[in-house]
Symmetry: D4
Subunit: 234 residues, 8 copies
């Protein structure tokens, strides 16, 4: 397997071997439209170099191809993720909240939670606190404020991040989901709602992109932890 | 001026002379793309038949053409409406709330309020209670619950109707506004947000259509009043 | 099963135990993307507290999970709803019309009708009166005017609510459906048509959202009934 | 001025000199984004060859450039058209109806009417018969049925063509207009409404394209007239 | 089976019994989202009253339900239509061309052709003459000009109607198809192309709506035939 | 001026007096669609309570109304912001980079920079490093890595955040701008590009929303600073 | 099989027999929505006349119908193409690069590569060099510059063509792919990104249209080769 | 003025001093949203280094700022370009055709022509040959085939590139324009039409982007010329 400086060339893929040094975390495998064989091959390279694996949007078939070689691989069914931790990443000091508006948003929230845990964060899960019953959210204010970052997952009109951002002083990362029907247009309504949030400082990721929100949150948490004198860092 | 049964034909317009009998309220003039002269001519027919006038989306020029002939006409500047009440419509018993999310939504809210008042309702105005400072809304719950219908006017992500609908037992009519920028796309974000509201039973009108919401609310209020033994009705 | 004041926490869901007091009706279960087990668990809590159940967008599998524990549960196949009435909600005095433009719109109309009946209203069903044969509608004017609220369900160009609103004095709630092809874009054409209705006071709900229209209509009907000295109320 | 077989080359334009032979009517000038001088130059060529001129989307400046050379040119202000008839086109035997939904749609209707008259048709103008007062339309059924083709001009939800098509046996050509606001999106709502019409056989032209509808109607009328033993035709 | 004046009420459908008198052709059944049983029931009423049946968007299951009772019913597989002609409609004198741009557009073209034939027109089929090989079209000019109306079916960029309209003097009705991929967005590209056609007088129907184009063409052809002293008409 | 607990009620606005306690920063005034008088009145309340003012999307007229009463107010012309610092907010320890792709993106970048400085951050400005000349970006890697957060402002295809995110280990907040023409559709192309970024962990704000990105960055920077033992925090 | 001058008429298709003379390459078969039998029939005509076959978007069923008659036909599975070269097209002198951003873009890249090879070009394949790890691209600059044309295939935000265009002096043809999720909207994000590329001179083809890009590249390569004194050309 | 290796840093802009070496042509200035002073400052740097200037989307004010310092600067009014050629770029051997569909497309065509001439190509201008009069195009086939590349500029339905691509063997670059109204949606119809062209090998640039098409064409022409033994090259 030839290794050009900076990446490992598998022909169909160039595994970014330099990524952890540059960006702080090793490469993550996005499984959609990749064959199980391709995912397993990339997984092997990643584990050899970095000792830790995260594969998102994985089907059971992807998992089975990976676990055949790496016995320690785990399949997170609801989150559709495969993880493997030979050499776990450094633990970070802050907690990250993963809040979701409704039960139907849980798969996206779980993708975020699994990603966060693998990247070293402790996760605070808070489910089903949509704005139509705002008292369910208000009671959680202290638990939210105690976190370093808050990820808010919501479909339909995507109103929850605005309400959360108005309650706390921490960064809020919003994840629109494709939950809804009719004029939700596959999550477009929630996406536009979050981009137009009247809550200052809400930032947004792609529809159903729990991974992206978690990665961003982990980056912030690592900043904090580094500052606090702990591990991690590029 | 020929009068075919059911309408008065002005050539460029057929004034619906039968509307009040059928629908409970006389015809309302929508001024956009009509000349001041056309509006004044229609206004004369409406006032002669029904004794009460509402013209929406009116400019000052429209008003001036109307007031020249009808001295009692009034221009509501913020609402862009002209009204004239020779024979006021019957007073209705219930109150209607007009709630708006931000100061910038006031012109649309005023169009709703002016329409409601002309159609016989008492209006409860509640301004600037957007979800980013949810405590401002929670304090108004009793005032809202005391109304027959609640009109909620909001731009940006349009989240306010969901929060209101979760607090009260009254019908909520949502009006998206074109307030916002970038990906609000002229009110599309707020419109989609409201259509996808997780608050049960929220109904929606067109962007910036304060008049439409008010007309629907008046229809409901008249039902109530009729039931309570009062006036109005077809 | 812990009960925080105001809701029952099932981990994956927080059942809003306070909703009937605040909003007048108990919580309704939206089944899409929930597992049969989750729906059954929520159903149990709802029935225990409120004695009456409505689950929408339910598949037969959802129904079977519910009926296993609640023998009285009924599956409404065309409407895709599950209902169970241990303690029926108070009967309301007014009738609500559910009008639909074509035979293909019937499933959405049935979702509205089932919801209305559970929430205590008597339903007047009027099918297949689209504007392309306007005489079919004109003959129903008196039946429509005798109702408290009129729900109009239509796909394609969504023109029926405008025609109905021009005939009667009652509130009209329009439900666009995804019936159509080509440039109907999944109901977008009907939705835009209804939002731009030239019929004053038409309000609109999301595409295929028969439930939402019915809930709003029930809220109005309850207002009336309360006023008339009957039951219900927050 | 060089004349290649089939067209006259003005450098910035190639006037289609063969069009009347091929298509039955001479070339029509679309003025938008053309300078007054360019329009006048093309007008001269067209009048020299065919003796009759129609220029659409013309401003007063375009008219003035044309009339300077062609004294007989006429400016139709509401329709924004310039016409000149040195050698009028053959009169056609059938009448064409131009129906519009509201007063605001008149400019588009006038573009259609002016075009039809120049192309030899007699026009039946019927204004302000929108579906919100359907009785205004029903009274015109016989007048409509007596025409060869019916052009229906409407903005907002664009519902009128469906209602007309359900009443008569003649071809209906629908013209959506940009009249409306908010979610009319510049006429998109009316356009989609008309394309999804439940009225069989409605055909549609571009938003605000009164000319296109009239041209199509004239083509049909000419067919009829030719058949009836009269003039015209290629 | 109750018969209110003007329609036959089947509960789930109101068959428009007056349509042939008003519009010249009997009601056509649109099968999508109707059950085979519903289609068969409506078919029986239509055949009883008018002796001729057209059902579009029919599956084989729809056909089988119909043919069980009406032995003479025929299934047109490519066109997805069911027809039955106990009392054929009057033959019309003119020919109608059905032109299509590519082989993939044939199903839509066949829906148009089957409709035209049932409604009494003779059809001229011309396949695969897209603008990328314009010589294939030019050779057909005389055959096209000999028809009364020309239906042009095209997907992808939808350019063919413009080219045809520039060659002949007859009405051109354009049918965009959903043939294409990527940025054709289900036929939107072809639809917009046709609406913006530089060919004067092109009118357009919904995406894949071969039936609508044929119905409009038949209406025009009947005008002609009526004029020529033949049959048909209301 | 009445003061309900938690906000100051000006009639047309409710100034959120509790915001700094809850969210860490005082309320910011969004000037669009507010009159100069309204902005000045809100500004007075904010300055009285919190001693520091930021008004965004301000015109010179807004500034003049503010400065009449608050002599220390400053107008930032390129950024369209008004600031006033009687009691400056606590200085934060980290630097924030504001990177922009082209010269035309500078106004949005300046809105971000002015906001950041007012909220206590030191700003590192890096202009005109778009991906079409990637060497201009590569040379800035160390300067970027030395910051706590990186704001990337870009129009057109919005590709710069992906490239930046691949180079550094810090959180990247992307701001799409409306710079571009044709199919940029007012910034939609850049917005979609950024939401679909292949760079892990990029989060996005609304089109042209420099303020929102800066507010989010300041929230992160405050976390860090708090952690490092310094000032600020709720 | 009749042969009108310029094409062979199969009834359902007119095979453009003149295309190679006019355009330099024989007709290519687009298989989607064609039956295996239709594809095989067209293939026979093309091979008889030109000795070389390319069928794109082919399923295995299409291949099997072709290979039954033409033993030399080959199925390229990843590219979904069928080729057959009885008389190979002239070899061209230049190389064409096919670069792709990620492993998931490979099927589209392969459609391009197979097309290029059949049309006589030598292909340089470069996979997985997306902008999130820009060092992987920079190392390939010389290999890219040595080609005549560069095809860049990318999904998600479609940023790669801008980066490539900034590195080399050769024409860049961009192919957006439908790879991505959420707000990629089936490749729309990548398409808009590429159309708005800040890299001068990037041209774009339809989403997933590897064939189109390859055909354009081959046309350019043939120009070069012709110029260099070699074969090909019309 | 500091010069970092590879670019000249003006603070608000980094002029890419290395571009000609890498990409073959010097940097071009895009004037929109830049002040006249900024454009003049960048122009000075570009002229000093490369001796040749092209500024697109320039207003007269931009020109005046440039010409004050560079006496030889020329303003191309229709094309909105400023050019200055102290050291003209090498002449290329091939001709490039710039074809446009209608007179209204001329400004975009001129932007392309001015760019081509500055970059060393000879231009063949062919105006007003839209597909509605296809004979105007057919007569130009030989002139088109004699060019190296063909740029086709068209608005409305954007059908011309397909017709041209079917006639010749040369690369066709399509430029959609914003000419049109109603459902042209600012050029979207033409853009989608061109992307879905049935003419093989058509590539497309952004709406109204005459410059981009010309730059791509020049790149191809330079390839040819280099090959033919002439000048240019990186």
């Amino acid at each position: 397997m030839p290794e050009t400086p900076g990446y490992v060339d598998l022909g169909f893929a160039r595994v970014d071997a330099d990524r952890r040094r540059r960006c702080g975390f090793p490469e993550v495998i996005y499984c959609e439209r990749k064959t199980p064989g391709e995912v397993a091959a990339i997984a092997r390279v990643v584990l050899e170099r970095d000792g830790v694996l995260l594969a998102t949007r994985a089907s059971r078939a992807h998992y089975e191809a990976v676990v055949e070689e790496e016995k320690g691989a785990i399949f997170h069914e609801r989150a559709c993720c495969v993880t493997c931790e030979h050499v776990p990443l450094p633990r970070l000091t802050g907690r990250v909240a993963v809040v979701c508006a409704g039960t139907s948003d849980l798969p996206v929230a779980e993708e975020a939670a699994v990603t966060l845990e693998l990247l070293g964060s402790t996760v605070e899960r808070i489910a089903d606190v949509g704005v139509a019953g705002i008292h369910r959210l208000l009671g959680e204010r202290d638990r939210l404020e105690a976190c370093v970052v808050i990820i808010v997952v919501a479909g339909m009109e995507g109103a929850l991040p605005s309400a959360v951002a108005g309650l706390v002083s921490k960064p809020v990362i919003a994840v629109p989901t494709s939950v809804g029907y009719g004029a939700s247009f596959g999550g477009l309504a929630a996406l536009l709602g979050m981009l137009n949030s009247c809550g200052s400082g809400v930032t947004v990721v792609n529809i159903d992109n729990g991974f992206g929100a978690a990665y961003a949150a982990a980056t912030i948490n690592r900043l904090m932890s580094a500052n606090a004198g702990t591990s991690s860092a590029p």
